[in-house]
């Protein structure tokens, strides 16, 4: 039915008698090393990279211009008004933190679950996590109004003998996001050291050898090192797993511990975490599809990988939809008239347009992934990823703004509109995000080479001529095990 030339790239068959290969084509350790490291070391930087970089760097410049303007003028340059004291800054913060979650989920939780397919995409997703958290971190930093006292957020001894209020969820946030950013960075870097050593050993230029030499810390692939390294990696994954679930829970406490209807709800932590994973996977996909196409990585990041991601998007998207429904049910069943009003107002009030964008993009369109044909079609999935990105930004907008703009006192109700400064700051944060992604693609190995090699069939010491019974890893060939007994 399909052309034989492209058929080998399709490894999405569900036939259990034909186990799917994760790495396609006739790849071995050598070709994997070459395909990934040549992107950084050998290939000439494509013109498109320079064009894209110029554009995103320009947007980044706009971000910093807007921040400068904000600091010099005050938060009045934003569209905040009297009831709506929390606008796009917090929306963008929650959006970007959420994006980061896919990286940690892929790197830590799927690692603990022994999902081998994660090895092709985890480096990229972790990088995206860090860049997203950087973008997120900017917004609470600048939205405090008096930016020059932002250090009050941290327990730093000071001349006023004041300490921060540790009973406030906003301070929990500082610690949660700070810890998350730090641990993600340590995890990402630890995972990258063996690959940086590969780059060091393949680099031809002196400068490259020195830089990758320093970054790889003198790694020589010693098994005595691998032994501790694997233990450390496993424990870091174990630490990152509760951490990733806690970060968006704590972010949701910012809302859930407030008294405002529509915010004061116990469903927020799980609902925020599911939404974060949902949006994060969509963002990974948004970036991976062009990257694998452009850099010839279709054999390493195969359709099977993308299909698995789409299944996770379908699952988490359905959880998000279920959470929306539960919120409505509780608003009615709880019998609190203010709560009831807030939800009717969300769906049918002045922000109904935003609400229905959210529902369409988050609940309705991801359901298309039930169909195998659609979830294995590259154009379809890419468009749906964009929809999810849009929908999840609007989710945070709806939560933040609808509850604030119509609170308990009808005389103080007001409609919130962003200003051009709000819009340019948000676009600028995209510029910063993509600038960092482009730098990452150009200078660091975007696929975890060492990890991909471990899931290839020839990495298994029992493969080939020394085939023995018992096929789980860690099993020692019998003749060796016998000799080991002293």
């Amino acid at each position: 039915m399909k052309a034989a030339a492209t058929d080998y790239l399709n490894n999405t068959a569900d036939d259990p008698t034909r186990p799917q290969q994760l790495i396609l084509g006739n790849n071995d350790f050598t070709t994997i090393t070459e395909k990934v490291s040549d992107i950084v070391l050998e290939r000439k930087t494509p013109l498109a990279w320079y064009v894209a970089f110029t554009f995103t760097a320009g947007l980044t410049a706009i971000l910093f211009l807007m921040i400068g303007y904000l600091i010099l003028t005050g938060v009045g340059v934003w569209g905040l008004n009297n009831p709506v004291g929390w606008g796009w800054a917090i929306v963008n913060f929650v959006f970007w933190v959420g994006i980061g979650h896919a990286g940690t989920l892929i790197s830590a939780i799927l690692f603990l679950l022994r999902q081998k397919w994660r090895t092709s995409i985890n480096r990229f997703a972790e990088a995206m996590t860090i860049f997203a958290v950087i973008c997120a971190g900017i917004f609470p930093g600048i939205h405090v109004g008096r930016v020059w006292v932002v250090w009050w957020l941290f327990p730093i001894p000071n001349f006023q003998h004041m300490w921060p209020n540790f009973r406030s969820p906003l301070l929990w946030d500082v610690f949660a996001v700070g810890t998350y950013a730090t641990v993600s960075l340590l995890f990402w870097y630890t995972g990258m050291v063996p690959d940086l050593a590969t780059l060091r050993d393949r680099a031809k230029g002196k400068l490259q050898q020195i830089i990758y030499g320093i970054l790889s810390l003198g790694w020589v692939g010693s098994h005595r090192h691998w032994h501790r390294y694997e233990k450390a990696y496993l424990i870091l994954a174990g630490l990152a797993t509760p951490l990733v679930l806690s970060v968006h829970s704590v972010v949701s406490f910012d809302f859930a511990t407030a008294q405002l209807p529509g915010w004061h709800t116990t469903i927020f932590p799980p609902y925020f975490v599911a939404g974060a994973v949902f949006s994060g996977f969509a963002m990974v996909g948004t970036l991976l599809i062009p990257a694998r196409q452009f850099f010839g990585l279709k054999e390493i990041i195969s359709l099977h990988h993308l299909e698995n991601m789409n299944k996770i998007i379908l699952a988490t998207g359905s959880m998000v939809g279920f959470a929306y429904a539960t919120e409505f049910f509780i608003a009615w069943y709880g019998g609190n008239p203010t709560e009831g009003f807030t939800f009717v107002n969300r769906a049918f009030g002045p922000y109904a347009w935003a609400y229905w964008i959210m529902v369409t993009c988050n609940v309705i369109t991801p359901q298309l992934f039930w169909f195998k044909k659609l979830r294995t079609s590259i154009p379809v999935m890419w468009i749906l990823y964009i929809f999810v990105n849009i929908g999840m930004w609007f989710e945070r907008f709806v939560i933040t703004v609808t509850s604030l703009s119509r609170d308990f006192l009808p005389s103080s109700w007001a409609y919130y509109r962003p200003t051009i400064v709000d819009i340019l700051t948000f676009l600028g944060s995209w510029g910063l995000f993509f600038t960092l992604v482009l730098l990452f693609i150009r200078f660091l190995p975007m696929v975890a080479m060492a990890e991909v090699k471990t899931v290839m069939p020839m990495a298994d010491p029992h493969s080939g001529e020394r085939h023995i019974v018992g096929d789980y890893h860690g099993d020692i060939p019998e003749e060796i095990r016998k000799k080991g007994v002293k």
Binding site: R167, G218, A450, E451
Partner: protein, 182 residues
């Protein structure tokens, strides 16, 4: 061509299964200062080399407990002792409001202990390694598998060890010196 004292002898293998078999033989000869170098962790190698468990988890546990203690003490001292103030009727120090930061700092300190503990136990960063003067060895981070026996091993005797390594079925045995011209 080469200079400096002898660092050790190396031999190269093409596949993890050949390496695993050879490593068990080296272990059974009673060598101590030896290692295998691979582009990725080879499963079963811990046993084939006779490596015992690492004490890293204990370092991490200590790190985590330090974080937990630091978070508890910090919140209690700062909010209940040094600068007490009542806000929204919450107690000055009470577990529910203080658990999130206890959790976060436990994870943070554990992660630092993992990161620095692992590199520390591995003796890294190590900016100079005689092995990297060997051109062939650079494939240890790419697609080849090596066994290295160091000259400082008590059981090391140049000719006999060379002969033994050659009998393992790898490539030609090479000498590595402390410093060499590239």
């Amino acid at each position: 061509m080469s200079q400096g004292a002898l660092y050790g002898l190396l031999t190269e293998f093409e596949s993890p299964s050949l390496l695993l078999e050879a490593a068990a033989k080296v272990r059974d000869q009673g060598f101590r200062k030896w290692d295998v170098h691979t582009p990725f962790p080879v499963h079963g190698m811990d046993d084939a080399m006779g490596i015992r468990g690492t004490r890293l988890p204990w370092i991490i546990l200590a790190g985590g407990l330090t974080g937990l203690a630091a978070a508890t003490a910090m919140q209690w001292w700062m909010n209940a002792i040094d600068y007490p103030f009542v806000i929204s009727g919450k107690p000055l120090f009470g577990l529910p409001a203080n658990i999130p930061i206890m959790f976060e700092l436990t994870v943070l300190f554990s992660a630092f202990a993992t990161f620095f503990g692992m590199w520390g136990l591995n003796g890294m960063p190590r900016w100079y390694n005689p092995l990297l003067t060997n051109r062939r060895f650079r494939r240890a981070t790419q697609d080849r598998f090596f066994i290295v026996i160091e000259a400082r091993d008590p059981a090391f005797k140049l000719d006999q060890t060379r002969e033994f390594l050659a009998s393992l079925g790898g490539s030609e045995v090479e000498e590595v010196h402390e410093s060499a011209e590239d």
